[in-house]
Symmetry: D3
Subunit: 232 residues, 6 copies
């Protein structure tokens, strides 16, 4: 049953590890999780260089009401990222420059919101990174209860308080807090392999050779034909 | 009944007041109107810094036909903003660099179009601000009648000729021409209040304290629980 | 019947002509084709200055599988543009920095993909232009067959291997390879005419006069009325 | 400025005329208005035979809040159709079987809602016609003020209290109350012409002959070519 | 971390209670949960009378691949409802008449799928209820691993194996298995109250009186004004 | 280059074979083509039992203009299906009861239109099957040239005049005219196999056994675990 509760003293993973995850970026982290944890691509950053790695403070709000975001700031700690979800679809601008000022004063690193955001020019100048579904000047009230730090579904992904949020221009990945060390290890391995391949590819070697795909293509029945011999 | 008419000599509000409104930005003006007048967020600026405050010259066009935009330029005055709406949904690029050149020569400050726009690289270089539903190279004909300066619905909002248009990165607000002085007053009051709060929030004071939300949360039944005591 | 084939030795149009087409830009080329060949506007560039003119190497992939993109690189030549289409709708990030590195090593100029792309920060730094339906970190497998250089439908437009692809901030136009010389001629004529009109419009002359639209407006029954005489 | 007001004693057009308009159907009425007044096609009936002709009682609601619909029932008269619009996009089920029971008890004929509806099985059994943007079980609160019988934009069309609403499987048309007699006349003329053409078309006569389109096709440069002589 | 696992011997709630929940319907159950648990309204039934109440067997699939649905049938029990989710957005027809035949032979009552379905004419004749995002003939392969009976996000809602699924024309609600008895109690109370109100509303009593909304409207500042005295 | 031409004397495949294809339905035919030829699922029938198998007469129109549909009727033969595509996205109701009356008088079996349709109540009563993107009363003009029987892209699929169109509740498949006999053969083989499997599945045999999927699941690393031993 839904409960209107603010959960405090949420365990967070080791921030140093979360920051390391952030250096790998969302694509590598998503791959390291076995292609899991990625939010849907309709959530976009408000400026191209937006980038964040932190721990989730989740917020469940009534649509068009940002009361619970204000309540959430109090339980944020340095290194947190707000993850805000309305109970029904909304594009209202539930978060703006004043809330960002407040959040930053408490060490919050950024925002992921499955709704709208406003004051994007000011937020961009502040370099306060936000990923949202919409940009909208539409304001909200502070009238209806909700919850903080309960599990929420954001961009199609379950996020629990304290999970790691890795976001950049490619998207947003949620890493369950207990999986952070294991994912970090896999991300490192994957990156090492990619670094080796990058040099070979840049030198003109073909992916079909490096990854051994010629046999696979053959086995799958893919054939080669000259254009002038092809019926098309 | 629909009439294909070009209305001339439209009354405009005092341009100095419109410019002042523009300095407050779309979010504040929308709030000052009692959260009204905001167009839907699918209308987006073609470059991030786009910003305009002016008086509407409205244009109703056949989809895929920009004849009436040409006709509208003649009745534009310095300080106007074109507000163009096709009679049926369209993403065609009904406006481009040549029309912007012509519009600017007559003092037009920018464009809001519930359709597509093209030549966006040139428009960006010209710093001619445009808010549109799409960017599309698709061209149009000049063959079908329409109307200028009749009331139109743009982005879900009724716009009459001479209404004030305040647009920036957060969206587009239409202020009925007779409401401009009253909205300006409310916008000033709101901004003064926000300025006071900004300093307190930046200093770490909480919104729940500044806005007196603790009692409201309690009255709404929101409770606090430690994570290790929570069943959730 | 669908065939999983890689077609080689595709004829290309004269690259010098394709580059000239590129200088006119997508809007002019689309007009020069009689308003044809333009892909739908949901395909957007990953950075505003993205611009390309080249010859299509087409790739048909299983959704979520980029095996055939790897296979396609081998048959690319300098001046080519990859045009990638999944068999069913997908926003997965089928192409990223490693593939771009490989493609560039073989002279590929850019990518049009009716799906997602990832590593957009790196691709932007490389200035490797991409037009896509989505930006998404979601990775893909290399497991299912497809085809290279067969006709595909991308963004609603039929593209055959070797057709010219002209893309910029306004969109993407596909010019059938045999039509390149004729389209080039028409684009030149159109541009000359526009250049002449630009100066007149900038000087304040009206489009209704330059294009002779006053008679048309009259013939279409469009009338003028003063605002204070209008019942509206 | 937005005002939270309930407007009473709204003038309605002659109900007998509105019913006659209804017999022509939305397509004919829309044509008779000069192709005007049609709401966007995302508003769909909840059952295929839904059909209504009545006079608008307009309702502006906060998203997720149906307080004002309850307030509106009191000012409804027999022959009215509720036209409900939320202030921001919403798909919540703001109206259901209980409200329909109440509305019908006061002579309300149906509902057009730019949001969601629920209890559609019961509403279908009651034959209470509804056009909506979504079907959704999501419930609403009764907490926020709004307005009744003020002008609203529904499905992209301005609706004033007392305007005629003609809706069926093809869509919803709003006829300004003062235009009802004139539109009725044009609808009758159009229908007479269509009836005459229907018989000729059924007998195999061609539209290009009946409507005299052969010359137009020729003038527009459309030519005929045998398939075996066509390069295409 | 994502695991490709088939979880067996999942606990189910008492089927008799689930069936009782089903008799209340999705709207009432959603309200009884405190307006929670409702999937997004893009999931629609394939025929208007579709209705189901059962226990979830969850399936996570690769897009365009239905291997895991086949694997899931083996762990289904009478009274189950399949809840199928692809790892990335897809509209492919992953389920059709043959799978329905198989599922029904094992007592499965219906399907909720966050993707496409096909053979809808046959499924409708079988009265096998399905809620889906799309109807599509597009077929799938059986090539990629996934999971059965792990938590999934379907239509924006977290579903765990064994949770109750209540679906009808208004939508789909997921009730956590441990909450079934409490939700049932609240649904009964709500229905009793609604039954009492229905009779009063049908007799013409107003909701503003029954629900005591007149004072609220007044407190919120809503005023009444005659149309001929209104400036609006 | 785009040409405004009406192509006559188009070769059609053997109608008896096309009708046989129709009996297999869109899903089977799409599979028989190697999962090819299926239009996107946004094209939906106007009534659930709509079903057609015929030969394409293609029509390219200006958006909001149905002149070329009238021109197309003259070159239709019994057994044809109209496939209508606007040059830019449109939801206008370009086709209604009068055109259907005319088309039927010339033996046309149905319509696929990548735009809107109107008079759907009348079309349903006539049992004239239509697949469309939208239902809309919005009318069109007869003013702009286009083409008949040239290749078009409809719902993402290339359709040439004379290709077979197989459409039903699951979607629309286009079979190139020269492939009809081969596709028919494969459809028959597939159906025979499915018939055999249907009986076994109805008897409770599992797909994982019938299709030999147990080894595949094992090879892919899918494991079984009891719920009470699973960490979740």
């Amino acid at each position: 049953m839904k409960r209107n509760v603010i959960v405090t003293d949420v365990p967070r993973p080791d921030m140093a590890l979360v920051e390391q995850l952030g250096q790998y970026g969302s694509a590598t982290v998503h791959e390291a999780m076995g292609r899991d944890g990625l939010m849907q691509p309709y959530l976009r950053p408000i400026y191209p260089e937006a980038k964040v790695a932190g721990t989730a403070v989740t917020v469940r709000c009534h649509p068009g009401d940002n009361l619970m975001i204000h309540a959430a700031i109090e339980v944020c700690r340095p290194g947190d990222v707000l993850v805000v979800v309305p109970e029904a679809e909304s594009t209202d601008g539930m978060f703006g420059e004043l809330l960002a000022t407040s959040a930053r004063a408490h060490g919050v690193l950024g925002l992921v919101i499955d709704a709208g955001v406003r004051d994007v020019t000011a937020l961009t100048e502040m370099r306060f990174p936000v990923w949202s579904k919409a940009i909208s000047a539409r304001g909200t009230v502070k009238a209806t209860p909700g919850a903080v730090n309960v599990p929420v579904v954001c961009g199609g992904v379950l996020v629990r308080a304290g999970d790691a949020i890795i976001a950049d221009a490619d998207g947003i990945v949620c890493v369950p807090r207990e999986d952070v060390p294991a994912v970090l290890e896999k991300a490192a391995a994957r990156t090492a392999k990619e670094d080796a391949n990058r040099a070979r590819l840049a030198a003109g070697e073909l992916g079909v050779d490096i990854y051994g795909l010629r046999d696979k293509l053959k086995a799958l029945g893919v054939t080669y034909v000259r254009h002038d011999e092809w019926e098309g």
